[in-house]
Structure formats: structure tokens, C-alpha cells
């Protein structure tokens, strides 16, 4: 029975991880850019939700709708204004660039919001759902449901819309896509915008469940890495699978090794995956 | 006399597809062998197996009596198996002489960088690129890059040189120059296996021709008789044409 609870906890968290990682995976798979800013975007979205709630009583679910277009615009601007200049540069340069940008953003957030943790407390609280011996907090369930919904929406956009298919085409073969009339640079900007959007909307969900602080950015970034390696790059189903697996792994690792070691176990899993199966559990090939 | 290169029932599978299927071949020292076959026949794959880029799925490769089947590319290179590439890939930011010196130093067994550069300059003179030694490798024309490939291949001090379509993309006078070079290389005692599409090259150079089709060795022998072999004609031109020409007299 305990194992079932742990498993369910893991799956619930896993849905959230999938949402966190989907945008990151997309950017990595399509632009071949590791966006170190991703973690900070999530935190920024979380603060947007927290402040909206604290100042104007706006529910985090509603914040999602407000945050989405803002972050899309932010991502679009960053890519077309800055990243585009180095998009063809070696891995090292783009990685260092996003690292530098992240230093700026997280420093700004630290200065603005201070390092102490805050918690978004819903009033009235959503309570828990009890089924037999299994206890599931409703806020987590709701967050997971929304996370999965948003991830699904992203998948639909990619597979059904014209823009989405352009993105997938660029991911598969940039030259060929360009020859077919796809504006590659605009596609890059849209993709990065989508990545930022997914990070931004994950923020309110995070804020509902966990205490937030500018210091937690790297934590979410780390999770996004692991999910990508587990699930394969640029693939939303992959992020889904990777997220769920990571959630379950962390849940059981917390049980067996203690919660403080859960992250280390996840990282060890990442290294093991990279060494033995770099194409991910689903076997999809990503960029080098 | 032990053959220089011996392939025994070599196969190479990618997933379910056998790119090379049960090929056995024997190459004596001093021969110039042509490896021909339609596109996708597995010629480059076979060369990749010999040089260790892809390990053979089954069968064995013997070089000078030694089993080199499990050799990594660098080991095959140092053992005396040299090769050139169909799609030339020089080290773009190195100079021409540095490109060749690398081959001389790592595969050709030069004792120092200095000696490697000296050998490299000699090889470059031999292929006619002596004046371009200090230029960047990426500044060369295609024909010159093919010659650079040859120089690199030579610098590896091979006993066996595998030439993968050295003539692709060259015009007819460039091809004649390349032919002369290859004959000069053979005259130095290097055994050559050349993948070629151009029949004129094959007939003027090769003492023996081997034909691959769908990864299998379908014919072997002197150029003229191989080209008349109905199986070969069928492979290149299809069943109907082969049936048509089967009864026709040949001059």
C-alpha cells in the first residue's frame, strides 16, 4: 500500500515535471540550444502568480492565461534579439551565453524578490482526496492535470498547426525545411517563445505546490535536464514519459535514500543514461 | 604466397538489412583491383568494414596474415591500410601540409612532427600540390582536394590503399591526371583497391575487377570478361536488357 502511495505521488509530480521539461526539450531539440534561463523563467512565472494572488487575489489557474502571452513575447524577443546572433556558433558559446543571461535574470530576481521562500496559500485550501489508504492533495492533482493539459496542448500545436509543423520540420532537417519555404529564423524565435511560455505557465503550478524562491531556479533546470535525457530531445511524448519516470524515481529514491538524496539519485540516473543510452528511453535521436 | 588482404565471408548488417553479405575476396600484393557495382551496392560499406569504421557482423578480415577484423580505424591505419574518402574531409582550419603531416605522423609512423612535415612536403610535391603547402585546406578547389586526399593516403605509408571514388566530380583532363598519379603510386609497390564508377578508369587501371550488387559479390575477373557477364549487366541495367543482350554477339 505504501508503494502505491509513493508511486502515485511520483506520477502526480511526474506530470508536473513533464510540463516543466517540455518547453526546454523543444528548444534543445529544435535550436540545439540549452536554455539555462529555463529554470529562472519558471521561477519568474511562479512569482508572477504569487504577486497576482497576493495583490489582486487572482487565482493561479487564471495567472496561467495571463502569463502565457507575456512569456511568449519575452522568449521571442530574447531569441530574435540575442540568441540569433550566435545560433550557428559552437555549443560552448550558446551555453555560455544563456548562462550569462541567466546570471543576470536570477540576480535581478534576487534583488527584487529577496531570497526568502514564499508560499502561495489558497484560501479556502483545496484539501485532500482520500481513496482508501491513499491520500492525494487536491492542489497537486489539479496542478498535475493542468500540467498534462498544457503539455497536450503543446503537442497538438506541434502536430496540427502549420507553425507547429514548420517547427518539427526545422527540427528534422533545417536545410530541407528552408528549401521548402520555411522561415527558419522566425521558426526559431517562435520555438524559443513557446519554450519560454511553457516555462512561464509551469510557474503558477509550481507556486501552488512548492515554496518559491529565486534560489530554486537551478533545481527545476536540473529536473528538465534529466527529463530530456530520459525522454529524448525535442519530443513532447518523450518529455511526458521522461517526466513520469523521473517523478516515480525521485519518489522512490526519497523513500529509500531520504528526500535529500532524491536529486542526487536523479542525477546519477542521468549520467547512467548518457553513458549507456544517450538517445533516451524512447530511442529517439537528438542533436549531439 | 599469403594474400595481402583476405576477406572471409564478411557480412555487415544494419538492423535487418545486410549491406554487405557473405563477401569473400583475396587481394595479392601489387594488384590494382577495381570494386564496382550500382549505387547502394555496399562498396563503401565494404571499405568501411576493412578499415574498421564498421565492425563486421560476421566473417573475418585478414591483412598480411593478421586478423584485423576487430581493429579500430586508427589501428587499421597504423597497420598499413590507407584510404581516401569519397566526400573529402580535410581538417579545415589546418594548412595543407599540416593535413598531410597528420597522416604521416599518426599512421605513417614518422618519428617526430618535424619529420612528418618533411615527408608531407614530399608527398605534396608528388601529387603536384607542393606550392600550396602553407595554404588553408579549405581554400582548395575540389580537384585539388582530391589530390590532397591522395597525398594523405600516401603519407599513411600504406601497403594497401583503398581509393573511394577519387574521380567523382572531376572533369576529363583532371581524371587523366588522377589516373597517372594512381599508376605512379602503384609503381611504388602499393597495392590498390579502387571503388569506381567510370569504366574507362577501371579498364585502363585494373588487372582485376570485383562486382558487388545488393551487398553480394556477383562477379570477379578481368575487366572485359566481367563487363560482359550477364549477371553484371542485369545488375546495372535490369533483367530485360540483360535478356536482350544475352544472345547478341560481342566484339
Amino acid at each position: 500500500m505504501l508503494y502505491l502511495q509513493v508511486l502515485l505521488n511520483g506520477l502526480v509530480l511526474g506530470g508536473l515535471f513533464a510540463c516543466i521539461a517540455a518547453g526546454f526539450s523543444l528548444v534543445w531539440g529544435v535550436l540545439n540550444v540549452i536554455n539555462i534561463l529555463h529554470g529562472s523563467f519558471i521561477v519568474l512565472g511562479a512569482y508572477a502568480a504569487w504577486y497576482s494572488h497576493a495583490l489582486w487575489g487572482i487565482h493561479p489557474f487564471v495567472s496561467i492565461l495571463l502569463v502565457a502571452p507575456l512569456f511568449f513575447a519575452l522568449g521571442y524577443a530574447i531569441q530574435s534579439g540575442l540568441l540569433n546572433r550566435v545560433i550557428a556558433a559552437p555549443v560552448l558559446l550558446t551555453l555560455t551565453l544563456t548562462f550569462g543571461l541567466d546570471l543576470m535574470l536570477s540576480n535581478a530576481m534576487l534583488a527584487a524578490f529577496k531570497a526568502d521562500f514564499r508560499k502561495l496559500v489558497l484560501d479556502p485550501p483545496l484539501g485532500v482526496l482520500s481513496v482508501g489508504n491513499i491520500v492525494l492533495p487536491v492542489d497537486r492533482l489539479a496542478a498535475m492535470a493542468l500540467a498534462l493539459l498544457l503539455t497536450l496542448l503543446l503537442y497538438l500545436v506541434l502536430s496540427r498547426s502549420r507553425t507547429g509543423r514548420a517547427i518539427v520540420a526545422v527540427r528534422m532537417d533545417r536545410e530541407a525545411a528552408s528549401l521548402m519555404g520555411v522561415n527558419v529564423y522566425r521558426t526559431y524565435a517562435i520555438t524559443f517563445g513557446l519554450g519560454a511560455l511553457m516555462a512561464g505557465v509551469a510557474g503558477p503550478l509550481i507556486a501552488m505546490i512548492f515554496p518559491i524562491s529565486p534560489l530554486t531556479g537551478p533545481v527545476y533546470l536540473g529536473k528538465a535536464f534529466v527529463v530530456c535525457v530520459l525522454g529524448g530531445l525535442g519530443s513532447v511524448p518523450g518529455a511526458m514519459v521522461g517526466g513520469l519516470v523521473l517523478g516515480v524515481v525521485e519518489s522512490f529514491a526519497a523513500l529509500w535514500f531520504g528526500p535529500e538524496h532524491a536529486v542526487t539519485v536523479a542525477f546519477a540516473l542521468l549520467i547512467a543514461m548518457l553513458v549507456f543510452r544517450p538517445t533516451g528511453l524512447l530511442g529517439r535521436k537528438g542533436y549531439e | 604466397m599469403t594474400p595481402l588482404l583476405e576477406l572471409r565471408a564478411v557480412s555487415r548488417r544494419f538492423g535487418g538489412l545486410a549491406a554487405v553479405n557473405n563477401v569473400s575476396l583475396s587481394v595479392k600484393a601489387g594488384e590494382i583491383i577495381g570494386l564496382i557495382g550500382p549505387n547502394g551496392a555496399g562498396k563503401t560499406t565494404l571499405v568501411n568494414v576493412i578499415t574498421g569504421v564498421h565492425p563486421a557482423s560476421s566473417g573475418s578480415v585478414l591483412f598480411n596474415g593478421r586478423d584485423v577484423t576487430r581493429f579500430a580505424p586508427w589501428q587499421a591505419a597504423r597497420a598499413g591500410i590507407g584510404r581516401t574518402f569519397q566526400i573529402v574531409q580535410p581538417f579545415p582550419e589546418l594548412t595543407v601540409v599540416e593535413n598531410v603531416a597528420a597522416a604521416a605522423l599518426f599512421a605513417g609512423g614518422a618519428s617526430s612532427i618535424r619529420n612528418a612535415r618533411m615527408q608531407a612536403l614530399e608527398h605534396l610535391e608528388f601529387v603536384g600540390l607542393g606550392d600550396f603547402a602553407e595554404r588553408s585546406a579549405s581554400a582548395l578547389t575540389l580537384a585539388m582536394r582530391k589530390r590532397l586526399e591522395l597525398a594523405k593516403g600516401l603519407a599513411m605509408r600504406p601497403r594497401l590503399l583503398l581509393l573511394d571514388e577519387v574521380n567523382a566530380g572531376l572533369n576529363s583532363s583532371e581524371i587523366n591526371q588522377a589516373l597517372a598519379l594512381i599508376q605512379a603510386i602503384a609503381a611504388r609497390g602499393i597495392t590498390i583497391l579502387i571503388i569506381e564508377h567510370l569504366m574507362k578508369v577501371v579498364t585502363s587501371l585494373c588487372s582485376r575487377v570485383v562486382v558487388l550488387h545488393h551487398g553480394e559479390l556477383i562477379a570477379e575477373g578481368e575487366p572485359q570478361s566481367v563487363m560482359r557477364d550477364p549477371k553484371v549487366i542485369q545488375a546495372y541495367l535490369g533483367k530485360r536488357y540483360a535478356a536482350q543482350t544475352a544472345g547478341a554477339p560481342h566484339g
Binding site: L82, L93, M104, F225, T264, F267, Y287, E288 | V53, P73
Partner: protein, 321 residues
Amino acid sequence: MSNPAMAALDTAARRDLGLACLLFALMALPPFLADTYILRLGTTMLMYAVLALSWNFIGGMAGYPSFATAAFFGLGAYAGGVAQKFGIGMWLAWGFAGLLALLFAAALGLALLRLRGHYFAIASLVVAEVLREIINSATDLTGGGMGLNLPLRTGQSVEQQADFFYWTMLGLAAVAMAATLAVQHGRLGFGLRCIQQNESAADMLGVNTTATKTSAFALSAVFTGIAGAIYASWVNYIEPPDVFDVLYSVKPIVMVLLGGAGSAFGPIIGAGVFLGLEEIVWRRFLEVHSGVLGLLIVLLVLFLPRGLAGIARRRARGHTP
């Protein structure tokens, strides 16, 4: 047959060696001239020079974007510290740290050097995190989260200590520089350059890519490990988040980018310029310190991707026909 190409080779090596000697002779002056604050700054600069030179083996010469520097640094710091805790003398402990870092890198390299590009970068980054956690948990051995105290050096005044650690770091930097020059002008460096340009072509031309890359990775670890051990002795107290800080991986990369990869002097120049800038910024913008650092990095990548040496090279090329 004499050839300008031949003579050029030795001239380049001789010129570099001469310049290096001059540079280090200059850097040997401060203990006679400056106060302890400047000396401490200089010691830090020399330490980062070692880290930058070390990274250059694997990141600059081989072209593998390693973020493992912090892992080697922290490992060296703890190896040195723990060894001294067990009574091993300081110099021996430092040597032990270097050796441990070297062996660790060789073993790690077997697993990681098969990866390329981003995958390698992330794996190397994560190694530091995992190591930090392991050391954090091994409380009995390392003091865990409570940190490790190193035995104090007695019988030396504050000024003498400052001099001592400056000389030590200078010596280590000199050794790292010598190794860089030797590798760059030798067979290993040639092989690394080939690998960086086109690894599979290098393989097919006879370069033992595995051994070559692993050597570079090991070299990037040994001096870093010793630097970590010296650092531990210098500051007398270390804890995991301090010595495994990701900035120990990132700053050396930025320094090499700043000074220009591909030159033996780039890392040192980059370290000097970067730390000079940081000192000025830190004094004025304490709260936004990391933000300004981030801005510097962004500007560097956008406008000076080939570093300062790249500017010099471009100017030089402009004068040759």
C-alpha cells in the same frame, strides 16, 4: 632542402617559451613590491590561471566543452584536506590530490568522452553535483555539511603566509604553462587539434582518439586538483557548496574565451583581465555582482567570440598580403 615551413615550427616554440619566461619573471615580482591584499588578489588570479590553462587542454585543444572543472577542484580540495586530517604532510597531500584527480578523470573519461557536444557538457556539469552530494554525505570522513578544518600553519607571519601561497600558486601556474606549451608544440597537441577539427577523420588517419582525449582530460584534472588542495590549505576551511561551486567550472571557460582559445597565453591573459574587471565591479556593485558578471559574459559571447587574442590576430592578418 631547407624550407621556411620547417624553420617556422621551432621559431614558434622558441618564441612562446621566451614569452612565457618573461611573463613569469614579471609575475614573480609582486611579493617584493606589493601589500598582502594585492598578493591575495594575485594568488587568486594565479589559481584561476591554473584552472583556465587546465580547461584549455580539454575544452580549447580537444574541443570538448567540459564543465567538470569544479568537480576536479572540489575533489582536490577535499583530497588534500582529508589527507592532512590523517596526518599526511601538506606537500604530500597536495601531490596526492593531484594524483587522485588524475585517476578520477581518467576513469570518468572512459565513460564520458564517448559523448559529444551538449551531452558531454551536461554530464560533466552533473558530475560535480553528484560528487558534492557524496562528499556532503560522507560526514565522518569529510565533515559533510559542517565543513572541514585544515591544520593551521604555524611559525609564519601573515605576510610570510601571503608570500608563501603566492609563490606556490605561481609555481603551479608555471608548471601548467610549461605543460601547455609542451603539449601544444608536440604530438599530443597535434592529435588534439585534429580531433577538434574532425574526430572521425582523425581516427581514420591513425590518431588513437580515446587515449588522446583521455590524456587531455586527465591533464585538465591534475593541475586543477592540486590547485584545489592548495586553496584548501590557503583558506583553512572548506565546505561542499564552496569548492564544488559551478562558477569554478564557468569562470575558467569565460576566461579562456576572453583571452582567446588556441593560444597558450589566452587563458592567463583572460584570467588576469577577468579578475581585474571582477575586482572593480565587486567593489562598486556588490548586490548586483553576479548580474554584472552575467552581463560581461553576454557581451563577451556576442561581440568577442574569439577573445582578445582574436582581435590581435585579425589585426596581424590585416598586415600580411
